[in-house]
């Protein structure tokens, strides 16, 4: 093991990897800080470049970028009341209210340190939990892999924002896209329309660039004229002291947020956004901060906001790391970014799953080290970003859109040195745009494209092996456990709705209670 860690350290300490980590960190911070630009968009734009890198720097680029982007999303939340990434949406109002009260940089500082601590907790969870699950997964046959993939697909639909039925339709579209090309049983071409280049299937990278890159540009160019957003003045100096005091006061919240983020993020299909919302709801509904004992109503409200940010911000970064648990152990993505990473790893000849723990331990340990390094690097770079946030937000949107199109086209062309991929980017770009307009979530499409071949291959292998004896899918012990999990996941929909409404009522009641003495 020590030998593995040593060789992993050598891989990470390589000058190319270090350069890639720093560049992707800056890229993640800038993209995450711009409203509407998600970490998934940043990952989609990075993919064409990772294509030309060795596996470790490629993984490093995506991990570092996503850790940075998730924190950077808090910057426009605090300054403009627009979440930079969906993970910051839960506490946007609180962060902006702190800015209004002259505590914006303290709110951002607390969010940064909570993100780092949450990210480190998630990384530790990843390091200890994924090998256990990986070992368990060694006992999996095609039946179990089929059910794990079904669990991932079910979770993707359940956590869909908006209607779950729309999530279901999005998932089917993704699965349908995954069937394009030669099939696994007879090598028969499907949905290729006589185009031989489509025999190998729809290129995943082109689909991602279209769904997240071009669709964003389409949205921007067809947007209605809006108002210019004034950027509030913030004082960057003297932030560290109050930040650390804020974190110390809310250490329990950082801890509980990290645990919630770690657990929720590890659920296939859930991810950092959902983790942040749940941690926010829990922190708010269990808050004990009240006005009184030298604390005015306004101070109590600000302290509650900092408390909520500590909980939710630690959760989203913990979720980023723990989303890699199912990715590494089963090869099932935890969220859209890990789905993109799986696509990159497959191109690099690395199959995520139990084999990683047996045969590619140096790559595995490198990945662990990168997680720790990325989270530690976030601390200085994050404080720097808070200082220069006004400048980053002033990057003209028009120029950015031109650059996204240029990178998207180059990236698509570079996949195969051909124009088919550019066509696919346009097709998926228009699809992403229309889906967003219709309120259809994009995450299930991505998971459908990635998990489709896994579901189909394992299903067909299983039924051919047993001559269509479908009872085998239900009678094996591990399969039975997985089926129970799928059923529980489906049953959790009404339960989550009920818990949500209950937490909302509690928040409202506490708010009312805390206001009464202040107003009196």
């Amino acid at each position: 093991m020590i030998q593995d860690v040593e060789s992993a350290l050598l891989l990470v300490a390589d000058p190319t990897t270090i350069l890639i980590v720093v560049l992707s960190a800056v890229f993640g911070l800038v993209i995450g800080a711009l409203p509407g630009m998600t970490a998934t968009l940043a990952a989609a734009l990075l993919v064409p470049f990772t294509f030309f890198l060795d596996p470790v720097p490629a993984i490093a680029a995506i991990i570092t970028m996503s850790a940075m982007a998730i924190f950077a999303g808090d910057i426009p939340s605090a300054l403009l009341r627009i979440p930079g990434t969906p993970s910051s949406a839960a506490y946007t109002e609180d962060a902006f209210a702190l800015t209004r009260n002259g505590k914006g940089t303290i709110g951002l500082g607390v969010s940064l340190v909570a993100s780092v601590l949450g990210g480190l907790f998630g990384s530790v969870l990843l390091i200890f939990v994924s090998p256990i699950l990986g070992e368990f997964a060694l006992r999996f046959t095609s039946y179990e892999y089929f059910w794990v993939a079904v669990l991932g697909l079910t979770a993707a639909v359940i956590v869909s924002k908006g209607s779950q039925l729309k999530g279901g339709i999005a998932l089917m579209v993704g699965l349908l896209v995954s069937t394009v090309g030669l099939d696994v049983t007879l090598g028969h071409p499907r949905f290729t329309f006589g185009e031989e280049q489509l025999y190998r299937g729809v290129d995943f990278i082109a689909a991602m660039i279209g769904l997240f890159g071009l669709s964003e540009v389409l949205r921007a160019v067809t947007a209605r004229r809006g108002d210019s957003m004034p950027i509030p003045k913030t004082e960057g100096r003297g932030t560290i002291g109050p930040t650390l005091r804020g974190i110390w006061r809310n250490k329990v919240r950082v801890g509980s947020g990290s645990v919630i983020g770690g657990v929720v993020g590890a659920l296939p299909g859930a991810g950092a956004d959902i983790a942040a919302w749940i941690a926010y709801a829990v922190t708010r509904s269990t808050s004990r901060i009240r006005p009184g004992r030298g604390r005015s109503g306004k101070e109590a409200a600000d302290d509650q906001r900092i408390e909520a940010i500590s909980g939710a911000s630690s959760a989203n970064n913990a979720g980023i790391a723990s989303a890699y648990v199912p990715t590494l152990a089963f090869g099932i993505p935890g969220d859209t970014i890990t789905a993109i990473l799986i696509g990159v790893l497959l191109v690099k000849g690395i199959t995520p799953g139990p084999d990683l723990f047996l045969y590619q331990t140096d790559t595995l340990y490198s990945l662990y080290i990168i997680f720790i390094v990325a989270n530690l690097l976030l601390l200085p770079l994050g404080f720097l970003l808070i200082r220069v946030s006004g400048m980053v937000l002033r990057i003209p949107r028009s120029i950015l859109m031109g650059l996204i199109v240029a990178i998207s086209i180059c990236g698509a062309f570079a996949i195969n040195n051909g124009y088919l991929e550019i066509g696919l980017v346009v097709l998926f770009g228009v699809m992403g745009y229309l889906f967003e307009k219709g309120g259809i979530p994009l995450a299930p499409v991505v998971l459908g494209i990635v998990l489709g071949p896994i579901v189909e291959r394992n299903f067909m292998q299983s039924v051919i092996k047993t001559n269509w004896d479908l009872t085998q899918f239900f009678t094996r012990p591990i399969s039975a456990v997985l089926i129970v999990l799928v059923v529980l996941a489906i049953a959790s929909v009404p339960l989550m709705g009920w818990l949500g409404r209950r937490a909302e009522r509690t928040v409202a009641r506490r708010e009312a209670e805390s206001r009464t003495p202040a107003g009196a």
Partner: protein, 217 residues
């Protein structure tokens, strides 16, 4: 307008939209199922390549039917609830609005957390302006969309002739300019992006981009 009326108009737009999405989903399923059925079988009665597309098609039809149906049932139930509440005289407009937009999986906490004594937004000292205002009005929006998609098509057609640097620069200039940036900003972005990507992909990543006119330079 009563609270019940307000609640009824909001879901009506959603119902129309979901009816369209559901209809398209059913149509896609109706095309995919026969296509899957027409594929070869592994042996008599055992489907092979067509099995998965057929299953996906079936679920597309099912979800496509359920989506508008569930929206309609939800809207009716909401209407009943509000009418009952209206009779009791307890429904406020705000309540109606929030429940009309309610979501089965909406997690709590999005409500604005205002406190007494918060500094008003107008009193904020500002340090600059963010350029979010790239949007346009009326037909201009659709012209911009056409410039983007038509520009990419033109790139595919012209890149082999004019070469990557010139075509890409023209495309980026057109897009940046369509978003109301100045000519200087558009030309600078186009030229620098094109040369930067040319250098990166051709020289560093060794990807052969189309040379066109500049072949041999």
């Amino acid at each position: 307008m009563t609270a019940a009326d307000q609640a009824a108009t909001a879901p009506r737009g959603t119902l129309r939209q979901n009816l369209l999405i559901g209809g398209l989903s059913v149509l896609a399923g109706a095309i995919v199922i026969p296509y899957g059925a027409s594929m070869p079988y592994i042996r008599e009665g055992i489907p092979g390549p067509g099995l998965f597309p057929m299953m996906i098609g079936g679920l597309l039809v099912l979800f496509g039917v359920l989506l508008p149906l569930s929206t309609w049932i939800g809207a009716r139930r909401e209407g009943h609830r509000l009418r009952r509440a209206g009779v009791d005289g307890t429904a406020s407009g705000a309540e109606a609005e929030s429940s009309a937009e309610s979501d089965a999986f909406a997690l709590p906490g999005a409500a604005v957390q205002e406190a007494d004594g918060d500094t008003p937004v107008e009193a904020l000292e500002t340090a600059g302006v963010m350029d979010t205002d790239v949007g346009s009005d009326g037909a201009r929006r659709w012209i911009n969309g056409a410039i983007l998609l038509g520009g990419i098509l033109a790139y595919v057609l012209l890149a082999p002739v004019l070469g990557f640097p010139i075509t890409m620069a023209l495309l980026v200039i057109a897009i940046v300019r369509s978003l109301r940036a100045s000519w200087l900003a558009a030309v600078l972005t186009g030229v620098l992006a094109s040369l930067g990507l040319w250098g990166l992909f051709e020289q560093v990543l060794l990807v052969q981009l189309p040379d066109g006119l500049i072949r041999g330079f």
